[in-house]
Amino acid sequence: MRGLASALLGVENEVTLLDMEASIEHLSRSTPQGAETLLVVVEPYYRALETAGRIAPLGRELGIPRILAIANKIRDEEDARVIREYCAAHHIELAAEIPYDESVRDADRRGRAVIDHAPESRSVKAMRGLAAQLA
């Protein structure tokens, strides 16, 4: 068995979620070959898009079968459009658009989980939708 998280894989009927290092050069280093899905979180500004544009091909090279972009902190239609266009141009499937949500920052300031702090917030609802989609 190869890769840290594939080594950390455990039993088949469970979910392993790996929050990876931010920096791109560590991707191959810390990425499990055994991962079935790579979620690439992207915000609607150039450098974040560019990072996602470099992560996705690396994930493909590592043989991860499903690579999905997750648009985050979307404030308006223009934000969504920028990410949709970038993903389309770079052949990255866009799986979810999570709205910008003050309650995330608010939860963070209080050192709380957003799902406890604001369970009915728009971002939590969007993430619930994504969880259902991934299952």
């Binding site: 080594a7 979620l17 191959s28 790579l38 619930r128 969880a131 299952a135």
Partner: protein, 111 residues
């Protein structure tokens, strides 16, 4: 199901990882959340207090060895059986999520 979450720092990947973990656990799945970020905050995002995390055990660097595949990619492999690691380093988080903090990824290969 193994899901890796990547993105630029500050993109919200930790919030996403934590929320997906909690939601999936509530849906009845057994969830293991691994914090592989050298600046760890997945625990707090999952709902653990910073007090609970202060003395939490981290999977040490020496549990991991470097291996290379035929294309020169570097991977990490565990020297210790997974079950042992889990028993020793697994941290209970809300909704039954199990958290594991993995140390030393940043300086891997340095020593």
């Amino acid at each position: 199901m193994r899901i890796a979450i990547a993105g630029k720092g500050g993109s919200g990947k930790t919030t996403l990882a934590a929320t997906l973990a909690r939601v999936m656990a509530r849906d009845g799945k057994r969830v293991l959340a691994i914090d592989g970020d050298p600046n760890p905050n997945l625990g707090v995002a999952l709902g653990l207090s910073s007090d609970a995390l202060r003395d939490a055990p981290r999977v040490p660097r020496d549990c991991v060895i470097d291996v290379y595949d035929d294309r020169g990619h570097q991977y990490m492999q565990l020297k210790v059986p997974f079950a042992d690691l889990r028993a020793r380093y697994g941290i209970a988080a809300p909704d039954g999520v199990e958290l594991m903090l993995v140390d030393g990824v940043e300086h891997a290969g340095a020593g």
